[in-house]
Symmetry: C2
Subunit: 235 residues, 2 copies
């Protein structure tokens, strides 16, 4: 199984993602992974590796072009992305193209998953009618970038949130549901009781942010739910 | 695999459930199934058979003591049950005892699942601290019977509802969430977009009730979610 950094370019900006090809020389579905607000970290790379271990071609995208950013700079980058839906889409689409063009990736079988900010990226690809079969969000934000795409959504949408997530107020959930209905989407919302933001991220507890906490049980349940949806959409 | 009617008695009322033992002579977890408002029908018996085919000892309870009731009479029965939480609990507990006492049932590994009214029964057993590892509801009602039990809930709770279910208004969902938090439960709420009430019941469409409809996709997804939770709680 090959796991390597992979550099590509969008609007003159060099982005460095992380490719984990688990296809073992055959053709396999491709999974795009979109990172959290801090950027592409070991957390998301580990998930790419885990998907490759299951036989998928996995590509963890890079939205910023810079790794290991100080928090303030990562927030700046995140703001820039959220302030420009077209930029977000160009960068996400470019990464999807990288994935689809891999020799062992079956470009007719693509999915995108995202964590936090990456959930927004996954939803935006669904709104933009990217050729993905499903968009999956782990503790996703439901804020829409400025200039967000809109229209019917054909990708299956699965969002999994902690009920105590301070990043996702009730109004945002309601807006998400409203949008999905309008878009005629096949959507699912899974709510974990007693769970906060970043429940998949073991690194988060060290940052001691109120309402943010790793939760092994939710992490494992959410991962299983995602795998079930993959089985459904790729069968 | 043995599948037989099974008669038991509560307060002098003869109840006839349906037992499907899939343990094949070994010891296996036991699953109690609680029916919808119309009573114990082929729908729930079929589910018991399906669980037995997976190796579980399954017992579909009977809340009414009468089968194939005309709609008005079934509604009367349902009202009686909802109007008397203690009666509901006695009948549900008796059925759980029937299940637990089966030769091949591992009485330390019990779960209860319910459909519609049966979801209420499943939750009530959880509230009553019955020795179950989880309570699962398919298009469950969230109304509480009069004289409902209360207190901490240790069984894992998974409720799966259609977003368009007219039986479960937003206020009821909010009350459910509020109760689960108060009870310190490990709870999950899964919402299927574009799905109504009775989504697991193929027989429902013939009745042409607005907002009630079979939905194969939600049915299959919900079943998988339940099986995953069984794997988790019985492992």
């Amino acid at each position: 199984m090959e796991q390597v950094p992979y550099t590509y370019e969008v609007d003159g900006v060099r982005l460095t993602g992380f490719l984990a090809d688990g296809a073992r020389g055959k053709s396999a579905p491709g999974i795009l992974l979109a990172h959290e607000a801090p950027g592409l970290t070991a957390h998301v790379k580990e998930r790419a590796g885990r998907l490759a271990a299951r036989g998928y071609v996995a590509f963890a995208l890079d939205m910023y072009g810079r790794m290991d950013l100080p928090t303030a700079e990562a927030q700046e980058q995140s703001k820039q992305i959220m302030g420009d839906g077209a930029l977000l889409r160009r960068r996400a689409r470019a990464a999807l193209d990288v994935l689809a063009s891999q020799a062992h990736c079956d470009a007719t079988k693509l999915a995108v998953i995202g964590f936090c900010l990456g959930g927004i990226v996954a939803l935006e690809l669904a709104r933009d009618r990217a050729p993905i079969r499903c968009a999956v969000g782990f503790h996703p934000g439901f804020m829409r970038p400025i200039g967000s795409a809109s229209g019917p959504i054909t990708a299956k949408v699965l969002m999994m949130i902690g009920d105590d997530d301070p990043v996702v107020p009730a109004e945002d959930r309601a807006l998400f549901v409203h949008e999905m209905k309008q878009a005629g989407a096949d959507w699912q919302l899974h709510v974990f009781g007693g769970v906060g933001h970043s429940y998949t991220n073991r690194e988060i507890d060290a940052r001691a942010i109120p309402g943010f906490a790793y939760n092994e049980r939710a992490d494992s349940r959410a991962w299983e739910l995602m795998l079930s949806l993959f089985d459904e959409v790729f069968s």
